[in-house]
């Protein structure tokens, strides 16, 4: 049995300890906002927060989050994620949408650490998140817009 919290709720999972967190979230807990894109930490579609830091859930076995706090797109709260999602909606960032939960997670983590990121900061923080539709122009713009909103 592996125990941790997801979006503030205690969960006990009777799964192989090597089960990737991604599949535990999706198949067992039905938290489907977290997406499968590559399975090898190359695309970032599966990004979740583990103890407040962005992690690729597809290569994170549930044994590694024992006792930890996991937050998915469904459970994100706070001014940064609100600003990010509002900026995303204001300029219609998503196209197909498959990567966008992961993009929002990484962008939120960036703004939590760097309130006013430069283009270089954005390039570094978002380098692990692939958008096959190449919505990058708008992702960059939306992060800058969200940073401005948070500045007040």
């Amino acid at each position: 049995m592996t125990s941790f919290t997801v979006n503030g709720r205690d969960v006990d999972l009777d799964l192989d300890p090597d089960t990737p967190l991604l599949w535990a979230l999706r198949d067992e807990l039905r938290l489907t906002g977290t997406k499968f894109g590559c399975g090898v930490a190359q695309c970032g579609a599966c990004t979740v927060m583990v103890d407040g830091m962005p992690r690729r859930s597809c290569v994170t076995p549930i044994s590694m989050v024992e006792g930890g706090e996991v937050t998915t797109i469904e459970g994100m709260e706070g001014p940064e994620v609100k600003a990010v999602q509002a900026a995303w909606e204001a300029i219609d960032v998503p196209q197909c949408g498959w990567c966008q939960s992961g993009q929002v997670m990484s962008a939120t983590a960036l703004l939590q650490m760097v309130p006013n990121p430069t283009d270089e900061d954005i390039n570094n923080a978002m380098a692990g998140n692939v958008c096959r539709c190449a919505t990058y122009v708008r992702i960059r713009q939306a992060i800058h817009d969200a940073a401005k909103t948070l500045e007040g």
């Binding site: 192989d16 089960t19 990737p20 599949w23 999706r26 198949d27 067992e28 039905r30 489907t32 906002g33 977290t34 997406k35 499968f36 894109g37 590559c38 399975g39 090898v40 190359q42 695309c43 579609a45 998915t72 797109i73 469904e74 999602q85 995303w88 909606e89 219609d92 960032v93 998503p94 196209q95 197909c96 949408g97 498959w98 990567c99 966008q100 939960s101 929002v104 954005i122 390039n123 570094n124 978002m126 380098a127 998140n129 692939v130 958008c131 096959r132 539709c133 190449a134 919505t135 990058y136 122009v137 708008r138 992702i139 960059r140």
Partner: protein, 715 residues
């Protein structure tokens, strides 16, 4: 998908299709519905008592925007408020939801969604409006002509009455459906031409959007399939004893496409497949390496191919003052949409239901019914949004639907099954953009005028041998060389040739199809020829255009204007231009780039697009931005190659890399104002990027890029 021009005849056929849809009796169940059911004036519109207007979208939403675009067309003629609009995927139904550009077939491709829906969806909206107005006239006892509708409010000034759509929807349902409701003139458009926010953005920003992989049915098993590592190979034998030991694996079955592992969750299915031992029969398999294939392609080119376009006598090249030659090589490419292929199928008491991002519903519908040996009316396909496609889900072979059906059949019992392809299945799984070689020759006279142009193309056919071969009417596969033929430029004598190559490697249309390689070969070579003639790339192109090509001239002049084109390399930056028309849409781009350690780094791209009436400029700009990034990532990084023996050498995003945010240039898009019938934007942003980049790179460094990608990764 090949360009299928929207002709006047096509539009008339479209109108007929609409009338058919409008006059079809509603299913009995719906006609006898209780009062709270939505008002459904036709197959495309549902108006709820809560004022919401839901548009049934006959095209797959895969990021290119039909949920928003088609809803805009309805809302315009309905005079709805944008905030009351909703969109939903229409199920497979060949009578109601055909693509009018494809003939009798429901499907998405060839950037046709707006083009074939432009009149049809507006008529649907206009019909609903007329019925709401008739209902209001009846309810208020006033003449219908005195009633106005604006932003979702129906009003009668004289009596002071006004109402939303919902309150009148039940009465509207009892009105006569108008056969040919009048449409607005373009000058009266309120919504068309404005930057409306997309209807699916909020759900896609919060993780709530529902895709295929998010569907769970009671007792559902997840299935992954071991496919042969070589194209054309089949299962010789397999040992499933270790796979069945994996906790969660329920069964293993051989199906036509491989060996299927069924498990209670995705991870168990993947582990079960890893534990499987399969012997493959390679006797009919492709065993050549990419190098060996290119050698055979080059030989075929030397023989000239079959002539597919000819103008005057190309022998004129023998008398040219100067002859230039070049050969361009293009690899196989995977589409690699971020959502891998997947489908959910449930079989219960002799009926089947499916949920997935289905791009060719009519073909899939027939295929599934055939595999399951059921009448087609007992198979329902619910079309969900797809996490990208770029052509990958538009399958002439219906191979994914067939595999899902085979899984359900092989299970030997009722139940629900979710078929999931991993990224490795996707990258190694074929249906690639065809590997291609172009051989070009051009001749100049002593004054630098182009007097002859020859372009021979060698690649596999996408359409021949597929269920859609009939589209070719016995002729050569135009999708193999489209864009090499039909050029707008005056090039003197001309010969376009095509050599059809054969292989068990499966090929498919990849975002912009033939134009992915023809655009590059033609526009990169033309740039070299213009340089040899001492001409500027922009002015040189304009000088080659006949007077009648005003739209071509328009985008080239526009992109030169917004980019401040002056034909020089400056501040360490090179500039290049390219123009490609695809799927009826004209696009010209200018690339600005730097040399970063021998690799081009793009800093800015300017793009001018003429797609006729710009239904939603916001979506058009997004598709140009995305098309540019999609093309750039591919030109920089991507190729599918075969090792000696015939195995694919790439497997996932580490060796088939996607463009990352730090590589994305700034993009500035100018949309040409036009009253022409709208054409598509999903694909046309792609083709000009790579040649404009090659031309800028040559201007900056002198290096000519005759093979893509620029910085390919080999494993």
């Amino acid at each position: 998908m090949t360009a299928m021009h929207t002709t006047r005849r096509g539009f008339l056929a479209g109108s007929a299709g609409l009338m058919l849809a409008l006059t079809l009796p509603l299913p009995k169940a719906r006609a006898q519905q209780a009062a709270a059911e939505p008002f459904a004036p036709n197959a495309f519109i549902r108006i709820g008592t809560d004022d919401t207007v839901t548009v049934m979208i006959k095209h797959l939403e895969m990021g290119q925007g039909p949920y928003t675009g088609l809803s805009t067309l309805v809302a315009e003629e309905l005079d709805a408020d944008w905030s009351q609009m909703r969109a939903e995927g229409a199920p497979a139904n060949a009578e109601l939801y055909n693509n009018l550009a494809f003939g009798p077939m429901q499907g998405t491709g060839g950037s046709t969604a707006i083009a074939n829906s432009y009149i049809q969806m507006r008529k649907a909206g206009a019909a609903a409006r007329a019925m709401l107005v008739a209902a209001a006239a009846q309810e208020w006892g006033v003449p219908a002509e005195e009633i106005t509708v604006k932003a979702g409010v129906i009003s009668h000034e004289g009596s002071g009455n006004s109402s939303g759509f919902g309150a009148l929807s039940q009465l509207a349902a009892s009105q006569t459906v108008p056969e040919d409701p009048p449409l607005k003139e373009a000058k009266d458009f309120v919504l068309i031409g404005t930057d409306l926010p997309k209807l699916d953005t909020a759900a896609k920003t919060t993780g709530k959007a529902e895709f295929t992989m998010d569907i769970f049915r009671d007792g559902m098993l997840t299935v992954v399939v071991a496919h042969p590592p070589k194209f054309g190979a089949t299962v010789a034998s397999f040992d499933d004893s270790a796979a069945l030991q994996v906790s969660g694996v329920e069964m293993v079955r051989q199906i036509p496409s491989g060996v299927a592992v069924y498990a209670t969750n995705t991870y168990a299915a993947m582990k079960g497949r890893d534990a499987l031992s399969v012997e493959w029969d390679d006797s009919a398999a492709e065993t050549r390496s990419s190098a060996e294939m290119f050698e055979e392609y080059a030989q075929a080119l030397a023989e000239g191919g079959q002539t597919v376009e000819e103008h005057e006598d190309i022998a004129v090249l023998d008398d040219a003052a100067q002859v230039l030659e070049a050969e361009y090589r293009f690899p196989y490419l995977a589409h690699a949409p971020l959502e891998p292929l997947d489908a959910v199928i449930e079989v219960k008491e002799g009926k089947a239901e499916m949920w997935y991002g289905c791009q060719f519903p009519t073909l899939d519908h027939m295929t599934v019914a055939q595999v399951l040996e059921m009448p087609q009316e007992d198979v329902r396909i619910n079309v969900l949004m797809a996490g990208g496609s770029f052509g990958r889900r538009a399958q002439g072979t219906s191979h994914l639907a067939a595999e899902a059906a085979a899984i359900a059949k092989a299970a030997g019992r009722d139940g629900a099954f979710k078929l999931v392809w991993t990224r490795e299945d996707d990258v190694k799984g074929g249906y690639y953009r065809p590997m291609t070689i172009h051989k070009l020759r051009a001749g100049l006279d002593a004054d630098g005028n182009i007097i002859g142009w020859e372009n021979i193309v060698a690649n596999q056919s996408i359409l021949m041998g597929s269920a859609m071969e009939g589209m070719l009417q016995g002729g050569p596969d135009t999708t193999s060389y489209e864009g090499s033929s039909g050029l707008p430029y005056n090039l003197g004598a001309k010969r376009i040739g095509w050599a059809r190559m054969q292989s068990p490697v499966s090929v498919l249309w990849w975002r912009s199809v033939g134009h992915t390689h023809t655009g590059y070969a033609v526009e990169a070579f033309l740039d070299e020829v213009l340089e040899a003639a001492g001409k500027d790339p922009v002015q040189g192109r304009l000088d080659l255009l006949p007077e009648s090509e005003t739209r071509v001239r328009g985008v080239i002049e526009k992109v030169a204007e917004i980019s401040g084109w002056n034909g020089t390399t400056r501040d360490g930056k090179g500039y290049g231009v390219a123009y490609v028309k695809s799927f009826g849409t004209h696009v010209a781009q200018v690339v600005e780039l730097e040399d970063r350690g021998g690799v081009p780094h793009l800093t800015k791209v300017w793009c001018a697009v003429d797609c006729g009436v710009a239904v939603n400029p916001n979506v058009i700009r997004a598709q140009m931005e995305g098309g540019i990034g999609f093309a750039l990532g591919t030109a920089l990084h991507d190729r599918i190659t075969f090792a000696p023996g015939g195995e694919v050498q790439q497997s996932n995003y580490h060796n088939y890399p996607m463009l990352r945010i730090g590589e994305m240039p700034e993009v500035e898009v100018a949309i040409i104002q036009s009253d022409a019938d709208p054409t598509g934007v999903g694909e046309p942003g792609v083709p000009p990027l790579a040649p404009a980049m090659a031309n800028a790179w040559r201007a900056l460094t002198g290096n000519k890029q005759y093979e893509l990608p620029f910085s390919g990764v080999t494993s």
